[in-house]
């Protein structure tokens, strides 16, 4: 059991991410001033545009310099910054506990989640957490405080992946629970029925969320680089299969690629960000890649 929040928060990683910001591509609602654009024009220091004066507009919003030059009345519109609600959804099913490298999928996803949460909190964005497997195991509301960040990371670290996956069904529950539009960061191996998972993700998107999917898989799952006869065991179903990897590798990779292509294509069609994460890669790579794409 993790005892320190330092487990998922890697100082060296955070040091690399110190200058990174997470910008949401889409306009989301925000109550507080934050990093993200609000669809609402309001008090702001950043000029947005001019428009004709309409009776009822506040005279203080009239750009008098433009009047002096043009003898016409124009209102100056400004961008209004607001805070973002980010919902980190972590898959804690038993399959996430698999790992052949330094980190298990769960650990890797946890570190990514913690790092993203840190960045959000530093941007004064609100972060929330949902940990799920066959049901919602942990649910934390969105807050911007640092203390909430620590509690959130602590909740991640205290979770142990062990149960079966009902990702699609639980995502639907999550979609129903989250009221305000925000960003959903899903970190999962997506080992559920793909069409049902897509349906749940569409539900989230329909609710106005910007859905970002981190498809976390172990390098062994991605490459199937086993040697010699193996008795493979599914950690969730306990199904066992004897196989010779060299013989079945081709078919396995073909099936896996089809699985990955499905999510990549379907999510892409729906303007959902898809990131395939190989747990053998350095942790900063997927983070940087994600943040750069969103900057």
């Amino acid at each position: 059991m993790p005892t320190s929040t330092q487990r998922f928060l890697k100082p060296e990683l955070l040091a690399q991410l110190s200058s990174m910001e997470f910008r949401v591509r889409t306009i989301v609602e925000g109550m507080l001033s934050g990093l993200h654009r609000s669809p609402y024009r309001g008090l702001s220091s950043e000029f947005a545009e001019y428009r004709d004066y309409q009776p009822g507009d506040e005279p203080t919003r009239i750009d008098w310099k433009v009047f002096a030059r043009s003898d016409k009345y124009y209102i100056k519109e400004f961008e209004e910054e607001t805070n973002l609600e980010t919902h980190i959804v972590l898959d804690a099913s038993a399959s996430m506990g698999f790992g052949t490298g330094t980190y298990t999928k769960w650990q890797y996803a946890g570190i990514l989640s913690a790092s993203l949460a840190y960045i959000m909190q530093r941007q004064s964005d609100a972060i929330g957490l949902v940990v799920l497997d066959e049901a919602i195991r942990v649910e934390m509301e969105t807050k911007t405080t640092r203390g909430h960040l620590i509690h959130t990371i602590g909740a991640m670290e205290n979770t142990k992946p062990q149960r079966q996956t009902r990702l699609a069904a639980v995502l639907h529950q999550v979609a129903a629970k989250i009221k305000r539009r925000g960003v959903v960061l899903l970190l999962s191996d997506l080992l559920d029925e793909p069409s049902e998972v897509m349906s749940a993700l569409e539900h989230l998107q329909h609710r106005g969320h910007q859905v970002n999917v981190f498809h976390v898989l172990d390098t062994a799952e991605l490459n199937f680089d086993f040697e010699g006869p193996h008795l493979f065991i599914d950690p969730e179903t306990n199904q066992q299969t004897l196989a010779i990897p060299d013989v079945v590798r081709g078919d396995y990779l073909k099936s896996l690629q089809g699985f990955l292509d499905f999510y990549s294509n379907e999510l892409g069609k729906r303007n959902m960000r898809y990131s395939l994460v190989d747990t053998s890669l350095p942790l900063d790579q997927p983070l940087f890649s994600f943040l750069m794409r969103n900057s």
Partner: protein, 680 residues
């Protein structure tokens, strides 16, 4: 299956190596958690099953590889013909070839041979295949191949040498055949013999043997110091009519002098003995003048009394059949018989006279009886092996019928035409008789016998080339067309091609028909001195055509002709055996062949060559060992023992181990490919 290098089979335990390797390197399936198990297809379990199968196949191929290599080194073979040459193994057999000819009775030769045979048997491992062949003039498989050497030893204890001559060539062929068939990769053919030089009257030819078959020669007995034997005997008419001479040829072999005597016995009764007087050289003749036997089938036996190395050939070395006269019935001319009168009475003239004179000239070799032909019956005629009919047309129908039946029953008839009708001659000769051909002497028209188809007696008449008896002239002869459809053929003809003598086989009998009357007016043949011996030879020839010969050597077979109609055979030792059990003559002596209607004596003698105990030298004996040749014998074969081509061709047997190595190579290639495709 037999093996050349049996010890290599111990390496079969090396098969455990691949098994151990397989067990040690065998990988049990690793347990591995795999959340993405769903992406393994249904073929995954099958691949594991295939993997297991490939591993087992790999194991078996490695075991098979080891086994094939071990077997190849052990060099198995399935029959003796596959056995390679020059390998020292336990797969060896022996064929004993024992000489049991008469010469093996000399001294202690046979006992030595028996001892050497026993010793030879001891030299092969127990349970080896062995066989025993005994030989003299013929070879006989006494004990077929057996792994029980005791059977061979028992047979050796029982067999004894006989009295027959030696055929070493037959022994070699029999030994080679037995050796080739022996169920052992190597076979020793051991020939135990005294190796008489006389056993090689003909040069020995190489014999074909398979690789692994070798001849061994064991010579037994010592060179004889001296041996004396009766080489030949004959009877000669003496000057006195009631006496005959028995002339014996005595030979001395080996080194040393021999003193002794020769005794003559008639029907077991001694007629006296005479000392042996050796002139210079190894040959001497002894003559006995004895009373001429009055009965037929008198047995004369000569016995040499001398101390020599081979007494077995002396005791009854030559058994003499009485050189008895051939009984002939002369059917003299009747009716037109001409007789002349004299103070002593009537005496025949014409053909009768010439025949009588000829019979007298033959001395006692022809015992003629005269008959007019009246009252003759087939039974009467059958007492005589030959009937001379001087003028058949003079006989009545009954007589002619009796003559015809006599020929049918096996009699020999010699026909001479008379001066009268020739219808009976025509009937008996089975030919067409035309008219007379009269030649004019003044015009030098005479006919000579120009060609004779027969050899032997009739050849005395002369043929193309030199004539022994000159060329008889003929002035008058019958034109005869031989009745081929009746079995008649011309055996002598005149210079113009006209038949002189016809030969016809009728039933069991024989007919010789002359086309010339036995009269001086017809031919001068009757006046020639050659007429008498011709008549005798003709009679003897006719007799031999209908009767089997009566002189044999030990080992000769009893021919069907001889045994025809015979019921019992009395052996020289006095025992009587059924005729069908006597197929050859195994011991010297007189054999009485009897039946209800006839009795015949047969004399059987030891081959005189068996008395010459001179042996081959060691070089010649060594050459016999090299007569076993693998492969084809050359066209020329071996004309002489010392010149035999005895080069051995390369060993072409024992190829099976090569096939095993080739199979091992194939298995190794298969194993290598399989191993590369089989996961560890």
């Amino acid at each position: 299956m037999l093996f050349v290098n049996l010890l290599y089979l111990a390496a079969t335990g090396a098969i455990a190596g691949p098994v151990m390797l397989h067990l040690l390197l065998r990988q049990r399936p690793q347990r591995q958690t795999l959340p993405t198990l769903r992406f393994l297809t249904a073929a995954a379990p099958q691949s594991y099953a295939m993997h297991k199968f490939k591993n087992m196949l790999l194991l078996f191929s490695r075991m098979l590889l080891v086994l094939l290599i071990v077997l190849a080194f052990a060099r198995p073979f399935f029959n003796a013909a596959d056995a390679p040459e020059g390998q020292e193994t336990a797969g060896i057999g022996m064929v004993l070839v024992m000489d049991r000819s008469c010469s093996m009775q000399a001294g202690d030769t046979w006992e030595i041979a028996r001892t050497r045979a026993r010793n030879a048997l001891k030299s092969v491992p127990e349970d080896s295949p062995v066989a025993l062949i005994v030989f003299d003039r013929v070879s006989r498989l006494a004990v077929p191949e057996t792994r029980d050497a005791g059977r061979v030893l028992s047979e050796l204890q029982v067999i004894e040498p006989g009295f027959a001559a030696t055929d070493l060539g037959a022994a070699l062929r029999a030994g080679a055949e037995a050796g080739n068939q022996l169920n052992a990769h190597r076979a020793r053919v051991v020939i135990i013999s005294d190796y008489q030089r006389s056993a090689m009257q003909q040069a020995l030819a190489p014999v074909h043997v398979r690789p692994g078959v070798d001849f061994e020669t064991i010579q037994v007995g010592a060179e004889p110091s001296v041996n004396v034997a009766i080489a030949s005997a004959q009877t000669i008419p003496a000057e006195l009519a009631d006496k005959q001479s028995v002339l014996l040829e005595i030979r001395r072999f080996g080194k040393g002098d021999a003193e002794g005597a020769v005794e003559l016995f008639e029907d077991g009764k001694s007629l006296g003995d005479q000392p042996l007087n050796w002139a210079e050289g190894a040959q001497t003749f002894v003559e006995f003048v004895v009373d001429k036997p009055t009965a037929n089938d008198v047995i004369l036996r000569a016995e040499v009394h001398v101390t020599d190395s081979h007494p077995a050939d002396n005791d009854s070395n030559v058994l003499l059949e009485v050189e008895r006269a051939i009984p002939v019935l002369v059917l003299q001319q009747t009716g037109r018989v001409k007789f002349a009168s004299s103070e002593s009475g009537l005496f025949p003239v014409g053909a009768n006279r010439f025949v009588k004179a000829a019979v007298q000239a033959c001395g006692g070799l022809v015992d003629a009886a005269w008959s007019s032909g009246s009252g003759i019956t087939p039974e009467t005629l059958l007492r005589y092996p030959v009937v001379l009919a001087l003028d058949v047309d003079a006989y009545g129908d009954d007589a002619v019928a009796a003559i015809d039946a006599y020929v049918e029953s096996g009699g020999a008839l010699v026909l001479f035409p008379g001066n009268g009708a020739t219808s009976t001659l025509q009937a008996l000769s089975g030919s067409t008789v035309g008219g007379w051909k009269q030649l004019d002497e003044q015009l030098s028209e005479y006919r000579l016998v120009s060609s004779v188809r027969h050899q032997g007696p009739l050849d005395l008449l002369g043929s193309t080339g030199e004539s022994v008896l000159g060329h008889p002239k003929v002035y008058r002869y019958l034109n005869v067309e031989p009745g081929v459809e009746n079995g008649a053929a011309t055996v002598a003809q005149f210079d113009n091609g006209a038949p002189f003598i016809l030969e016809r086989r009728k039933g069991d009998g024989l007919v010789y028909a002359f086309t010339v009357p036995l009269e001086a007016s017809a031919t001068d043949f009757v006046l020639r001195a050659s007429f008498a011996p011709f008549l005798y030879e003709l009679v003897a020839h006719a007799t031999h055509e209908t009767e089997a010969r009566r002189r044999y050597l030990v080992g000769d077979g009893a021919s069907a002709t001889l045994m025809r109609g015979i019921d019992d055979v009395q052996m020289p030792n006095g025992k009587t055996l059924p005729a069908q059990t006597v197929t050859s003559f195994a011991e010297p002596g007189a054999y009485a062949l009897t039946s209800e209607s006839k009795a015949t004596l047969v004399s059987v003698n030891i081959d005189p060559m068996e008395s010459d105990l001179a042996r081959l030298n060691q070089t010649e004996i060594d050459g016999i060992r090299d007569l076993g040749i693998s492969g084809d014998v050359g066209e020329g074969g071996a004309d002489e023992l010392n010149d035999a081509d005895v080069t051995m061709p390369p060993d072409e047997s024992g190829k099976f181990w090569r096939y095993l190595l080739f199979a091992a190579l194939a298995v190794f290639a298969f194993e290598s490919i399989l191993a590369s495709r089989t996961l560890r």
